[in-house]
Symmetry: D2
Subunit: 438 residues, 4 copies
């Protein structure tokens, strides 16, 4: 699911037509029965007792009653906590909803970890079709290594909600999506329903993180992008944030904060980041300001966005473009190191915290400073110019790249879909194919 | 119809739902029969002979043959023209297609006039439902006063095309729109068809002007904007430009240029400009850069956008918001005069001309400088600050002033008194304190 | 001394001519003999033992030997520290030099406190003429209330260095400044000498904070600003940062960071912030990028700047302009609260910390979002527009302002100087007159 | 003399210390006797009669009386002129003072030509030490080829004033400069005196062009730039504009305009453009806004700046950096052609003209769009990315490509083999994999 590897680096190329019927940006798996969940929940609870911590993963289907205790705890706020030493990013007593986590890499996951490290309770919204794999991976401990926080404990995810932020309420969902077997098993995954569920489960949240992006035609130049592709990018990557904030605001506590992820391609030309994704990020950045005003004035909620550099994730490894951008950053940014997801996570935690109580409507660049460059210093033209290049980078071994026709990958994707392999794929490689390449 | 009075100032509140059935952003009237047109054409030709000029309005339905002569002339280019004296914005031999004119006020019309004054041939794309009124007003001479160019002649519009830039080709048009009587009488008004028609009629164009905007929910805060409203704003105001350029590029001559209209609300918070219109303008500005690269590299076409201030037009009078923004600009901009449509038209003509051959991917502000203000100087808070407010205040000679709190001066006075310094103050200073301060 | 109340809000109007002879931006008092210092140091050490803490104020004149222990501790770095719980802004083991603290309000002081709260050791550079008052206030416990950190302890200032960042080395100092009695008592206060002293005392630093600004003609419109006034503003407010970084870089540990303070007037028109101060802040912001590249590539040092809103300090109370900007912000910013110095301090601590390890070359706005506004919403023109105004703000009681001729205040200042009152002034009010009003 | 070839590209390395005594940014030759001038004037007058035009070069030393006629003509304004056909950049009846022309290449010269082509009367301010060569070159016809205007006539320069914009009035000039033989022969070359001379000669001007820049340490990184070097850059390149406008404003006609030249290095990192020149351009851009407000409000004068790309001039050939930037622009800008000085000149003429009457406080980019690039597309890293590279590559038909790591495709292949999916792949797809990918 979306935006896990870079802000705007295209996640899925699942063809998301606005009014057509085939594919959706977000959905829910059929084979996730309540019974099954209850079982997993019990098992997880047990395992978490072993680690002498609360369950990290709680996926109730109708847990209004069960969560009452939690609600009480959450409402109480940070006031009752014993002060931490030093100058902490203190999110104890805060509850965060992170929309757009489908695996254990990418910025969404890293932000969740930083928020958790700072003490926040973590709720997650996962794209419906990816929900099954994500939850089973969680249950099976496949993410345990990635869940490790600085203090050695494991990040807990209080609840995972199926979410498809392309739909605001059930009436918006076309019949074919409803009928799609990858969605049919889940329910209440439109934005309005998810917020309603969160409200019933927890009463309120303090932090909203938007880590969603999708541009089905991201690899096409803008001049070759179709209207449907463009609007799908906007709907999934920009309006999804407006919608989430709009629906969450009534249950967000004053002083709350929201964060989204953007990419410098909105402000300057980055060939290769196409399909209207640059347009979507531009809209998102503009909306950040407008929503900062509207949500700030009425609800004392802050709204910021992080313009993050490219991230080397499993996804990125598959997509040459991201890999190239990482190499480009290493060669050209003021800081010649590779960006880690944690750096974006930490910046997000800061922005969400009281330490940033006067920061709103801002684009904060977490990209090793690349956005500030006026030229690419690795241009062959500057070969003889005395530009400090960073010793260690001169030896970087570049993987061999091959260029393939997009048409080939499209065919492959369609072929896989046609053979219903998609549903059964959950291997990392398959996920890469499903989510990243097309 | 879109954006005729200000860039993004919402023109119509016609409810333009993306997938619903009632209203469309652009269409064509049913009662415009070929016979009727032929008649008007004849009459117009006659009238134009009277003014010893070519017909200003030629609305053929299938005029491939008839236009042959025109095509020949157009293809020939500017090379054959005798040089003009001075430093002219010389568009002789160039053909411009202006999308988004439906009456004789607004920026679209003004741009057409400036382009015409500079010698360009004018083709117009008019929103289908507005076509009938526009054409009949043209025929009846209702626009004659407005058509007057600097040299006294009247602007000629070679052809008016029905256009609804929300649809790219006939397959995109929903049945209910097809059936709508305001559309049923026209044909070939999707983007692809219009471009096809222009190609058949004239072969090529040199200048594309995008003066289209629509945001059905413009008066709603962004937090209350629906997905359909948001996407409709993007589709009509941003993607419409991508689509027009994409389709026109193959028949645009190298060295050609395109211009669109944007508004500062994309970059900074302007409450009242809602419904996703700010998002759409942000996308449009971002796209301007990306398309400048793509169209520049492949086709040597330049792409710029004008960020224009609000325009007092008939439309504006109806919308209080625009009127307020005009007053706000007069009170706060560096240049305290009202913006005229002509000023935007002239900037557009310059940008479209060879004089601007090195300008591309740019946002050019034509707004009396308002975009550069960091504060609203007419705030009641600045009442006592020495801010030049216009002519009427220039006669008052003011010494350089500083504003201090009375309390501070009181303290100062008391402190001086306490220390018996006051007695020793030489007269002028004492007088100053006693007379001016307290 | 400079920049204590707002970034760029003019601190002093002491006439700082570049090559003339009368006044300087920074210096050291004559009556601070080594003997005197030794005494105070002893006393302070004792008092600090009482509070079972290290001395908060250590002003050695030649303490190479004495600091050996400290150097050892400092070099050791954060690695040896036990991890803090949660997500801390962890600056333990880091040493910060904050240039531009002269009292206990203003952003410099607040940044020092946040850095100290995060565990950093604090060194301070104080403008030479203000040194005496600052140190005696520190010694007498006048700042004790302000020194209180979140955990109840008092911020320690390891050492205060006299500094006048307008001079890079002794050869630059004109004779009249050397002879000035406010400077004559101090030594080694040029940038190069201060850095040399820090190197001898501590070996290295990790964090450099620039909280300096001076524009002798800040109250003059730019069109009336003299070359000397303009260049003095640039020299004291922009180049002073280049100079400090340039000299400190060789003794800054890799991974180090520097922070400066800027103001939105650099990017957009803020009438009232004149005298070239807007120009100086523009240069400072531009330099932030260039230095981020140069210091990042060669030394792995990050360089960022905080664009902070106006701060209500004692200084601000005296200067109507700042007070007006505070009211303007409350009326117009997305967040309708008053900015606290602590908010800027916390942002600075974050930026200086490993949590911000991928942020460099950035302008980070800490201003309640005011920078994002495109209009002043409190304009009388928008009276009837439905803009959320924040209930509590409608009752704000505004102090009565009076407007006085600048000439009057200049006369007053000169009169005070002439009568040698200046040297004996150290009351808060007098400080306000000396530093803030003129 | 400065900035004639690019905006900020350093022209001279004359060591300009602010308070030292050796070199100055601008001055006047000693050997230019009044007698000599009178002679040349006579000769020029004659030669101009031959070409049946007015003298193009009139260098009076005390021509108050002689210019009376000219003044009369100039004051009369454009009103009396017969309208030009088309849409002209009409500057007839306007008088322009261009500060910073010392030869016949560079932007200053090109702007003068465009203004002249548009009908403006041209006055020139030439750096004192360069005056002699410039004037003699003019007289001897060495610039005649370059003086040719579009209509075939030669640009006339009504008068050349010696100017050193680093000094505002005679009291500012150090003795050593006064004594310098390159200055001793000229007089009245400080800003105030030049303006006084222009006032006496012509009464008023309409257009002020600032084409001055000097940074004695431009080739040094900012971190190695001295205070004197930095302030010299600011004084010569930024404040010189403030000073010129400040002094000219009282004799500028309402509706007048001023233009300066800047460079993108102010906004983003361009290694190689050092010495504080980037800082100076940042200040200049910021000042453009502030002065637009101040001069706009009080005097109805517009203030804009052109951010121009690098120009291949004689100067540029000498400086490798400029040459590299030209090549970089050709390789990376949206428009892959070399920038001509004329393009900047035409943009300046437009901005100075009534056609731009609503444009003020703006930075207008005339750089083939390079400023909009987010990456250098000629980076070796993008070698395999499908970026349009110019005409020569257009014939190669490329399918839409994506770049993926060979390793990924290997994994995919292995995974498919392992799962025996490969056997079932339909032929075309299998062929695609086998033939194209591996």
């Amino acid at each position: 699911m979306a935006a896990t590897s870079t802000p705007g680096m295209l996640m899925t190329t699942i063809n998301s037509c606005l009014s057509s019927s085939r594919n959706r940006v977000m959905t829910s798996t059929a084979n996730f029965s309540a019974e099954h969940k209850e079982a997993s929940w019990t098992r997880l609870t047990s395992s978490s007792h072993i680690s002498s911590r609360q369950p990290f993963f709680q996926s109730f289907t109708s847990g209004n009653v069960k969560f009452q205790k939690v609600v009480t705890r959450a409402v109480s706020g940070a006031a009752e906590y014993k002060p931490l030493p030093g100058l902490p990013v203190d999110l104890r007593g805060k509850r965060a909803f992170i929309a757009g986590i489908a695996d254990d890499n990418g910025y969404g996951w890293a932000i969740a970890k930083s928020l958790a490290a700072a003490g926040a309770e973590i709720l997650v919204g996962t794209w419906v079709p990816a929900l099954n794999i994500f939850e089973s991976s969680l249950r099976r401990g496949k993410f345990d290594e990635s869940r490790k926080l600085p203090d050695g404990s494991l990040m807990e995810i209080t609840k995972v909600y199926p979410l498809d932020a392309v739909y605001d309420n059930p009436e918006d969902v076309p019949d074919d999506v409803k009928a799609n077997k990858r969605y049919a098993g889940s329910s209440n995954w439109t934005v309005q329903e998810v917020v309603e569920s969160v409200k019933q489960d927890f009463g309120s949240i303090d932090i909203l993180v938007h880590s969603l992006a999708n541009g089905p035609e991201v690899s096409k130049p803008l001049l070759e992008t179709s209207r449907n592709g463009y609007l799908a990018a906007i709907s999934a990557s920009s309006y999804s944030f407006v919608s989430l904030l709009k629906h969450f605001v009534p249950i967000m506590n004053p002083g709350g904060a929201s964060i989204s992820l953007t990419y410098i391609a909105s402000e300057r030309i980055i060939p290769g980041y196409g399909g209207g994704m640059s347009s979507a990020k531009a809209a998102l950045e503009s909306d950040t300001q407008v929503l900062a005003f509207e949500a700030g004035r009425k609800h004392k909620i802050r709204v910021n966005t992080i313009s993050a550099g490219p991230l080397r994730s499993r996804a990125a490894k598959a997509i040459g473009f991201i890999d190239m951008m990482i190499d480009y950053s290493s060669a050209n940014a003021p800081l010649q190191k590779e960006l880690s997801a944690e750096e974006v996570g930490n910046a997000a935690a800061f922005l969400a915290s009281p330490l940033a109580s006067a920061i709103t409507g801002a684009v904060v660049y977490v990209d090793n400073g690349l956005n500030a460059m006026g030229v690419g210093v690795d241009s062959p033209i500057f070969e003889n110019l005395d530009i400090p290049k960073g010793k260690e980078l001169q030896d970087i071994e570049r993987p061999t790249m091959v260029v393939v026709k997009r048409a080939f990958l499209n065919s492959l994707y369609e072929w896989l879909v046609k053979r219903a392999f998609l549903n059964s794929l959950y291997e990392p490689l398959a996920a890469a194919i499903l989510l990243q390449v097309f």
